[in-house]
């Protein structure tokens, strides 16, 4: 096999995730695995716009929330299948992603990021105030009805649902790395004026990347809400969540297919471990994961500016030299 090391690592990691539920039955471990896969997939979805196309969004919670609410309202208010909610969420996110991409087309760098934050905040206010329909700031409990059509599943089944999502997002990343559009997006990311001069319709492609990323994020939002069973507007539309997608990716390796998953493995497992460890303490540790993010980010920027992927690459080169 002549696959590059990062592809082989991805195959191993996904394989381990697929086999784990056959061996481990501990619900805490399976829950951690599901969250690692989901946050990894969502960070990969963010990476499509933020890493590959250089459209760094800090408002991706908007699309996550659209997906979460679409399915939650579909099941709680209309007694329909969450799968219909998933489709509705994707449609709404395609529209919202297209609109935000189009409207902020002239904005670059921090200005684009600011406009995405504003967008997610507008949705947060809308969802938390529209009491009659969304139940406002109280949030919506997602009814649990056993079955695949209703997404009322056990931990083992959820591992495979999360795995499918992870493989889907990873496959989109791999497709971008080898396709014409992926190269053109890389050109836009590196220098938009130069890309235009070389015949690349940068505005249209930026909208495409943001829209694709939004749709995948919405799917993740739907599945997360159905798994967790509760949609709180202050969580699903929060800036914290948007930052989580970005930081997982930056810590793992921006613009690399495996990076978002590596970031998620590190951050999510640390977070769930610490939450379990300190759950006995009533106060003080609620925000511990923010401390983890901060510390991890500082360490990465200082010692591995290209993320864990870059670190692994340097280690590989060092070992090759040591062998020679």
């Amino acid at each position: 096999m002549s696959l590059p090391p990062s592809r082989r690592a991805a195959a191993v990691l996904l394989g381990v995730a697929a086999l784990a539920p056959l061996i481990v039955r501990d619900s805490f471990v399976l829950d951690s695995l599901i969250l690692i896969l989901m946050w990894g997939a969502l960070s990969a979805a963010w990476n499509v716009a933020g890493g590959y196309a250089g459209q760094v969004s800090l408002g991706h919670a908007a699309f996550f929330g659209i997906g979460a609410y679409s399915a939650a309202l579909m099941t709680a208010r209309f007694q329909q299948s969450p799968w219909l909610g998933l489709v509705l969420g994707v449609v709404l996110s395609l529209a919202a992603g297209g609109a935000i991409g189009y409207l902020s087309n002239r904005l670059r760098g921090p200005y684009f990021a600011l406009s995405t934050i504003a967008f997610s905040q507008v949705l947060l206010i809308g969802a938390s105030r529209w009491r009659g329909f969304t139940a406002g700031s109280e949030g919506i409990p997602v009814p649990f009805r056993p079955g695949v059509w209703t997404l009322g599943l056990g931990h083992v089944a959820w591992v495979y649902v999360a795995l499918v999502l992870a493989v889907l997002c990873y496959a989109v990343e791999i497709w971008l790395e080898g396709s014409r559009i992926g190269y053109q997006l890389a050109g836009i990311r590196e220098d938009e004026d130069a890309a235009e001069a070389l015949g690349i319709a940068s505005r249209r492609l930026k909208v495409f990347a943001v829209t694709l990323s939004a749709a995948l994020t919405s799917v993740g939002g739907t599945l997360w809400a159905q798994y967790v069973g509760f949609v709180d507007p202050f969580y699903v539309f929060s800036i914290d969540l948007s930052i989580r997608f970005a930081l997982n990716t930056i810590i793992g390796g921006l613009g690399t297919a495996l990076g978002p998953f590596l970031g998620s493995i590190l951050i999510t497992s640390l977070e769930t471990y610490l939450r379990a460890t300190f759950s006995g303490f009533k106060t003080g540790f609620a925000g511990i994961y923010l401390v983890i993010y901060g510390t991890a980010l500082i360490l990465v920027v200082r010692f591995a500016p290209e993320g864990l992927i870059g670190l692994a690459g340097r280690f590989g080169a060092w070992r090759a030299r040591a062998d020679a």
Binding site: S179, Y183, Q184, G187, E190, A194, L198, G199
Partner: protein, 241 residues
């Protein structure tokens, strides 16, 4: 092939380009010279679609280009390079050229072959796998040309491709531009370095304060009174003598 009719570009109260007219035929190698701030790069930005002219017309291949964005103009066959080079810094040299090639060739594998060919032409083959930002300025200038060439332009606009090069790099770049011209690419070259321009261009237009004050062969330009007053100075005349 390319016709400019009384093209004007203003920035507030400043007229950067004033009623410039010129005509480029298939196979030309036109030079544009002028002191700093004469409006050379502004003129390129108007021709290549980055600025919309405030007056006059730009006609390329029989088509009025007013309001067309740069990527459409590139697809029509007119590609420009930048004076301040804009490499895709984190990508390899061959990927840089490939992104240009993908404009004409939808298939990634065909574009890669084309990119390798162009890199060979531009003498960058030994650096194909290097990251663009790791290249010294002389090679970055070549990469800028290679990338533009990969889009298969009929008319190529080079904005100070020779500025900042050492003497041996300069010779190499002059050779490269001559080769491209011989291969059938029509060129407009902006340059600061008079000596190089005199050896390269068939025809030269002189810009001064945004106006085209003279046009002619290198010999005619070098002896034109207005040009000497505006730009070349007495020393150049003495040096020529």
């Amino acid at each position: 092939m390319l016709t400019l009719e009384r093209v004007t570009k203003r920035f507030g109260g400043l007229t950067a380009v004033r009623e410039v007219s010129l005509h480029v035929r298939q196979g030309d190698l036109l030079g544009i010279i002028g002191p700093n701030g004469a409006g050379k790069t502004t003129l390129f930005n108007v021709i290549s679609g980055y600025y919309r002219p405030d007056g006059g017309r730009v006609v390329f291949a029989g088509r009025d280009m007013a309001g067309l964005p740069p990527h459409v103009i590139c697809r029509l066959g007119l590609t420009r390079t930048f004076q301040l080079v804009k490499p895709f810094g984190n990508l390899s040299v061959v990927d840089n050229a490939m992104i240009g090639a993908l404009t004409r060739l939808p298939s990634v594998s065909a574009a890669r072959l084309e990119a390798e060919r162009v890199i060979e032409t531009c003498g960058l083959a030994p650096h194909a796998a290097a990251r663009a930002r790791a290249l010294p300025i002389g090679l970055r200038k070549r990469l800028e040309v290679a990338r533009a060439l990969a889009t298969r332009p009929r008319l190529l606009l080079l904005d100070e491709a020779m500025a900042g090069l050492n003497p041996s790099e300069l010779v190499g770049m002059i050779e490269l531009i001559r080769r491209l011209h011989a291969d059938g690419v029509t060129l407009i070259v902006i340059e600061h370095i008079m000596a190089a321009m005199m050896r390269l261009a068939r025809r030269i237009v002189v810009l001064h304060h945004g106006e085209a004050i003279a046009e002619g062969t290198p010999g005619e330009i070098a002896s034109d009174r207005r040009v000497i007053d505006a730009y070349l100075g007495e020393e150049f005349v003495l040096a020529q003598a």
